[in-house]
Subunit: 226 residues, 2 copies
């Protein structure tokens, strides 16, 4: 079967993307430990990859610079969409998806995979510039012009299957495909439980509420507290 | 003064680029340890940065996949331009400059630098797709579309001052600016002395010969043997 790389963050979006990719590809996942406060993300990504039966590779690229409230450091992660500058929230990590996509394309060329999947979406999202269709279109052009696969006429494909999904659509698709959402982590913060108030927690709750389904991550935690 | 990031490999091209960047910017360098056989490159990059008085940051991103004869592994580095596939030599590292540029742009946004310099050149080069003007043009578009600096109308600039220099031009410019070429390393292999026969050694020798200057790296080694 054709091979593909899926970028797996440990969140619900990339989890659903993983299960969608598995419908047409033999998948390997790529997980980044980049100094994010939510260290639980990496553990969740490993569990999701194992549950899906996909081999994973972890890249430790702990960024030595700051520039985002999402990274280790003193800056507070804002409630909701506060602290946005020019419409872009303080949780923006400079060039993050460009870095992630670059490694994914390198990995794909090295093992002969023909596609890279990323779970970005531009509806119900946080206004990150590197989650928009125009960004992915520009990155496809970089692959055409700057890689071996592009030079020989078989550029690594960039697949964004949930780009125009709402959070409700993402939850519904995940339920349809049997995604184990209890292994996914969305909260930007580092605690043992989701904070419930950061923008990512709010968007996740919106998705489950609109899909009319309980969030198994919360249910499980409530059960363990009962 | 305005700030800029210079990607420094330890080779003569990025060394000259560093000294050119210093003419207009307060420079910080970014050095990558990515599993290359020529481990001496990193030491040379540090010495070059120190000689130029520019602070350096080393990123250890040892690629866990192969796919290039330049990386650790069993594949032989070819003599001259042998083993080229589709015109691209086996020393091509998948998506290397895309990865390097991505980190550089992230660093630039994090510290408020307005430009990133890279010493790529498309004359007297090894036919790497990620050293051509069309690649850099496509990457500028990625910065426009996928970063915060692009979104607010002040995209990090990509500067390629030696893109259309020959190796002779590079040597001449370096001599003019006082670049300490004795601290630069070009050989693709890992030995204590340049092999003299890989494509990078051949291109370096061509540059010095055409510029009518001795290579101080070789002179110094000959002296130490005398």
């Amino acid at each position: 079967m054709k091979k593909a790389i899926v970028l797996l963050s440990g969140g619900m979006d990339s989890a659903v993307t993983l299960y969608m990719a598995k419908q047409g590809y033999d998948v390997e996942t790529l997980i980044f430990d980049y100094g994010q406060k939510a260290t639980k993300e990496v553990d969740c990504a490993i569990r999701l990859s194992e549950a899906a039966g996909s081999p994973y590779t972890i890249l430790d690229i702990d960024l030595p610079w700051q520039g985002s409230s999402l990274l280790d450091g003193d800056e507070e992660i804002p409630e909701g969409g506060e602290n946005a500058v020019g419409g872009i929230p303080s949780t923006y990590v400079p060039a993050r998806n460009i870095i992630f996509m670059s490694f994914a394309v390198s990995f794909a060329e090295a093992i002969g995979a023909e596609a890279v999947f990323i779970g970005a979406h531009q509806l119900d999202f946080s206004n990150y510039p590197d989650c928009r269709d125009v960004f992915f279109e520009s990155f496809r052009n970089v692959i055409d012009k700057g890689t071996r696969s592009g030079s020989v006429g078989a550029p690594v494909k960039v697949e964004t299957p949930i780009l125009n999904f709402t959070k409700k659509d993402i939850v519904a698709k995940g339920l349809e495909l049997g995604v184990p959402f209890e292994f996914s982590w969305s909260c930007y913060k580092g605690g043992g439980e989701p904070c419930g108030s950061c923008e990512s927690c709010i968007l996740r709750a919106k998705g489950f509420a609109e899909a009319g389904a309980p969030d198994p991550l919360l249910s499980k935690e409530l059960r363990s507290q009962g």
